[in-house]
């Protein structure tokens, strides 16, 4: 769980030389309507200086609460938060060297763009010329030139977002916190802002903690992703690792799409297991917890599977239930002996799609499948 982030850490420390954020057994319990609710349960995390880490999970998984405890807006019910080795639990939000970018941006509506950006610097009692210099820098790097005197409500969503980011950046925080900052933007702008945030974060090398429920966002921006479910951390790993080697059925299901084929390992050794699925015996990579004879689930990503039509009247492993055209690819749902399987065929001609009721076989590269345990 506390694996150091690769590569990124080394390149980032040159800027700030600090910003290591550690969470130890962090917990949060509320008195809910139905009794005691555990919103965050024993979260451990070691974020390296300059690392971009994303908390990802469905609504109510505790990711926002975790972020707000780090910011100091919520008191932890247990555990510790440390910044550069020092306990910060007892510091109020204003004394923590962090800055947050809010989902609603939370720009001060009575202040202009420039006044918003300068707000934190004025509180730090910086000299006028220092403020002016920092402002110029922020305004230029965030493409806000010419908007300094506008009011927040005179800006577009993307511009407001950039002001919020600039306002957070100028105070030179050790940690940047993002609370679903892109969820109010339209899809195109969202993509542009992802790249923008990542570029700025790399440029300044500031440790960042980002909360989202959008897996695409998490995968495309993060050094590491923390998948959370029901207050617990399910997995902490690089996006690629999480996609190819999910730690649980929940992670596999939440990240991307996956078919789960029931499978009982006949033999397990050296991280590989032999299973029989769809009437074929194959050897696949397996989760360390997989053991011989225990019910497991074989994860097959739809894009890693292929359909082979059965010609000359024979029967295959399944029958096409439905095909859906998505532009770049066609999705097929196939009724098989092992349940309904989804297969994505990239680049197929929609006019030659297989029709309903066609007999097919489903094939996939066993090395790109992954055997998980049913808990």
């Amino acid at each position: 769980m506390t694996v150091a982030a690769p590569a990124m850490a080394a390149s980032a420390t040159r800027e700030t030389g600090s910003g290591r954020l550690q969470l130890e057994s962090l917990a949060k319990r509320f008195n809910g309507r139905t009794g005691l609710v555990t919103a965050v349960d024993q979260v451990n995390l070691d974020v390296q200086p300059g690392e971009f880490i994303t908390l990802l999970g469905p609504s109510g998984c505790g990711k926002t609460t975790t972020l707000r405890m780090v910011a100091g807006f919520e008191d932890a019910s247990g555990g510790r938060i440390m910044l550069d080795g020092k306990d910060i639990d007892n510091l109020p939000p204003q004394r923590r060297p962090m800055a947050m970018v809010f989902q609603s941006y939370a720009l001060f509506p009575h202040l202009s763009v420039a006044e918003n950006i300068a707000y934190g610097l004025k509180l730090q009692r910086k000299r006028k010329d220092e403020i002016a210099a920092a402002m110029r820098m922020a305004v230029t790097s965030m493409n806000l030139v010419g908007l300094e005197d506008r009011s927040p409500h005179e800006l577009s969503g993307g511009q407001q977002q950039r002001v919020a980011l600039a306002r957070a950046l100028v105070v030179q925080p050790k940690v940047l916190l993002f609370d679903e900052p892109l969820s109010n933007l339209d899809a195109k702008l969202r993509n542009a802002m992802r790249a923008e945030i990542r570029r700025i974060q790399k440029m300044f090398g500031i440790t960042s903690m980002y909360v989202t429920h959008d897996q695409d966002e998490a995968m495309s921006m993060s050094d590491r992703v923390v998948v959370m479910n029901k207050g617990k951390v399910e997995q902490v790993a690089t996006p690629g690792e999480i996609y190819a080697r999910p730690a649980s059925v929940f992670v596999a299901d939440f990240i991307g799409r996956a078919n789960f084929l029931e499978a009982v390992p006949e033999r397990v050794s050296g991280g590989m297991a032999t299973v029989t699925v769809l009437d074929r015996q194959i050897t696949v990579p397996a989760h360390p917890k997989a053991t011989t004879g225990t019910q497991g689930a074989l994860m097959v990503r739809p894009e890693n599977a292929r359909l082979v039509p059965v010609t000359n009247g024979g029967t295959g492993i399944g029958v096409v239930l439905r095909s859906t055209f998505h532009g770049p690819n066609i999705d097929y749902e196939v009724e098989t002996t092992g349940g309904t399987v989804t297969v994505t065929e990239p680049g197929a001609d929609p006019r030659e799609a297989l029709g309903e009721g066609v007999n097919v076989n489903v094939t996939f590269d066993p090395l790109r499948a992954y055997l998980l345990t049913r808990d």
């Binding site: 319990r29 109510g60 926002t64 004394r95 939370a106 009575h110 707000y119 105070v171």
Partner: protein, 583 residues
């Protein structure tokens, strides 16, 4: 995109103590909490406790048996409740009439109607009482002079009339907000399904508004039974608990039975007041949705004219009453000898009255900023910074309006008239009475503050609830302490609420009677108690002159407050750009 997610909802729930040390609250916050608690305790809690202590002392207990067996006392209780109920009904009806005309009828002159409906807020209630006697009494200029009736106005009918006319703006403002908050899309939906304007009124608007009529009814009930000035001027034989308690103190010097009357008055007052708050806080029917869409369709049929006519008639009565106040202050005996004279006004602004005018103005000027700021601070603490104890401070701040002024005044007398000694050392000087600190000025200012806090507190709570906490969190996150955040972010954003709060505080201070009449000393004179004595001795011209001057001062005060605080410029900026965007 779901703006509110379950884990967000959780984030707003109170934390449970889990044996871990909680971070200590910010020093500035603690100072504010202590300061506002102490003020509320001294100004409201201690006097109330003093009343309770006297009313439940052993020698007071037999009085309850006497009260509930005495035919006279039971009649007083019944009178009080009947008055409350009738004023509640009439005032709410008047408020609804004006709100409906304002929000839903396509008629001319709505701005003027609005101003007329707001007039009673800035004038002392007995201005209306006195004018009513002059216009509609036995020898009334209108009742007798025009219609030749010798109407006996003293009693229940007169009281209901005067109190409804004086208090209905509260109901009007509440109902106007509610009618405007109705999502026009609902009406458009009904129209779309084929309902006509009147059908919509009957089947949609009235059922939706109905629960909203309860709150103003209860509020008016509380204000009506708490009122002291009108029963004294206009009550005649119709005695109510407030005036009975007042007479027990001033006429019989019997503080024990005064306290007993107070407690009996407190029961319906507090029950109705907190019933009203509970009713408003229920989340049963959410008619006021986030952003109303569609456009309001005003009523245009012939049916609007009778409603409009009724509102005009009421408005004419209001104008006649206030017109009488002004005209009465510059005529010898209005209606009898209509020759112009400036004697009364001279008496007030350049003669014996000048002392009262200056004292009142000074006290109100001291009390207003304190009350306005404290109300705002209490609201901010309650909404943002306190969790389990929030209700307590909220309650404390509200006592100034929930507790009838007479009760509070008697509480002041009981709690603060004697000097408090521990051994030979004077720990708390007398605040009330002839030998009081600063001739009673301290207690008068304190009473003004406590009576005025709730107005500012209520508007500020409303404004703060509209302001997303993230805005303030963004400020703390950038390094501002909570108090800095309040100064640089919260305060500028809720400035309109501060403006309203200060204005209300000033108006309430200047026009406050029921608490003050028990606190004035020979050295400190207050306009309202001067009016009371002038009106009850039949010197109407002087009473009118005082009222005119008082109203002028209140209006000037509004202007000054607006000038100092600024007229909510941030709101105007928003409005302007919304329009610019449309262009």
């Amino acid at each position: 995109m779901t703006a509110l997610q379950p884990d967000r909802d959780l984030a707003t729930l109170p934390t449970v103590a889990t044996g871990r040390r909680r971070r200590k609250a910010d020093l500035g916050i603690r100072v504010l909490i202590v300061a506002s608690s102490v003020l509320v305790a001294i100004g409201a809690a201690v006097p109330l406790i003093a009343v309770m202590a006297t009313a439940f002392a052993p020698n007071a207990l037999p009085r309850y048996a006497e009260f509930f067996t005495s035919q006279v006392d039971l009649t007083i209780l019944r009178n009080t409740l009947v008055l409350g109920a009738l004023v509640g009904l009439c005032g709410t009806a008047l408020g609804f009439l004006f709100a409906f005309v304002q929000a839903r009828l396509d008629v001319p002159g709505k701005k003027i109607l609005h101003v007329i409906a707001m007039m009673p807020i800035v004038s002392p209630p007995f201005a209306v009482a006195t004018a009513t006697v002059v216009l509609y009494g036995r020898r009334g200029v209108i009742s007798n002079g025009i219609f030749g009736i010798e109407y006996h106005i003293y009693g229940l009918d007169g009281l209901v009339f005067v109190l409804s006319m004086s208090l209905f703006p509260v109901a009007y403002l509440g109902l106007l907000g509610m009618l405007r908050g109705l999502d026009p899309a609902l009406e458009e939906a009904a129209m779309n399904m084929g309902a006509g304007r009147w059908k919509i009124l009957r089947t949609l608007i009235l059922p939706l508004i109905a629960p909203g009529l309860v709150a103003p009814f209860l509020l008016l009930f509380v204000e009506a039974i708490a009122d002291l000035a009108n029963p004294l001027v206009l009550g005649g034989d119709y005695t109510v608990l407030a005036s009975r308690a007042y007479l027990a103190v001033t006429g019989e010097y019997d503080l024990t039975s005064a306290s007993v009357y107070c407690v009996i008055l407190l029961v319906p007052s507090l029950a109705m007041y907190f019933g009203q708050r509970w009713w408003l806080n229920r989340k049963v029917r959410t008619t006021i949705t986030g952003k109303p869409s569609g456009s309001v369709h005003l009523m245009t049929g012939w049916g609007r004219w009778p409603i409009y006519g009724l509102a005009l008639f009421i408005a004419a009565i209001i104008v006649s009453l206030y017109g009488t106040v002004i005209v009465g202050s510059v005529t010898k005996v209005f209606g009898v000898d209509n020759s112009l004279t400036l004697d009364y006004l001279k008496e007030v602004v350049a003669g014996v009255g000048v002392e009262a005018v200056l004292d009142t103005l000074t006290f109100a000027a001291i009390a207003t900023p304190i009350a306005g700021v404290v109300g705002l601070v209490i609201a901010w603490l309650v909404v943002r910074h306190l969790r389990r104890t929030a209700w307590l401070l909220d309650l404390g701040g509200t006592l100034g309006v929930a507790v009838p002024g007479t009760v509070l005044g008697i509480g002041f007398v009981l709690a603060y008239r004697p000097d408090r000694y521990i051994g030979d050392f004077e720990v708390f000087p007398s605040l009330v009475g002839g030998s009081a600190l600063a001739a009673g000025a301290v207690s008068i200012v304190l009473a003004y503050v406590v009576r005025s806090i709730p107005a500012g507190q209520r508007t500020a709570v409303g404004a703060l609830s509209q302001l997303h906490p993230y805005i303030e969190q963004a400020s703390t996150d950038l390094g501002a302490s909570p108090v800095q955040t309040f100064r640089f972010v919260t305060l500028p954003l809720i400035r309109p609420a501060l403006l309203t709060g200060l204005s209300y505080s000033f108006a309430r201070s200047m026009t406050s009677v029921s608490t003050i009449v028990l606190l004035v000393t020979p050295e400190t004179k207050i306009i309202t108690s001067q009016v009371l004595s002038a009106a009850s001795t039949g010197r109407y011209g002087v009473a009118f002159a005082y009222c005119t001057v008082l109203t002028a001062i209140v209006l000037a005060g509004f202007g000054l407050i607006r000038l100092v605080v600024g007229a909510g410029a941030s709101l105007h900026r928003t409005a302007k750009t919304e329009r610019q965007k449309e262009q």
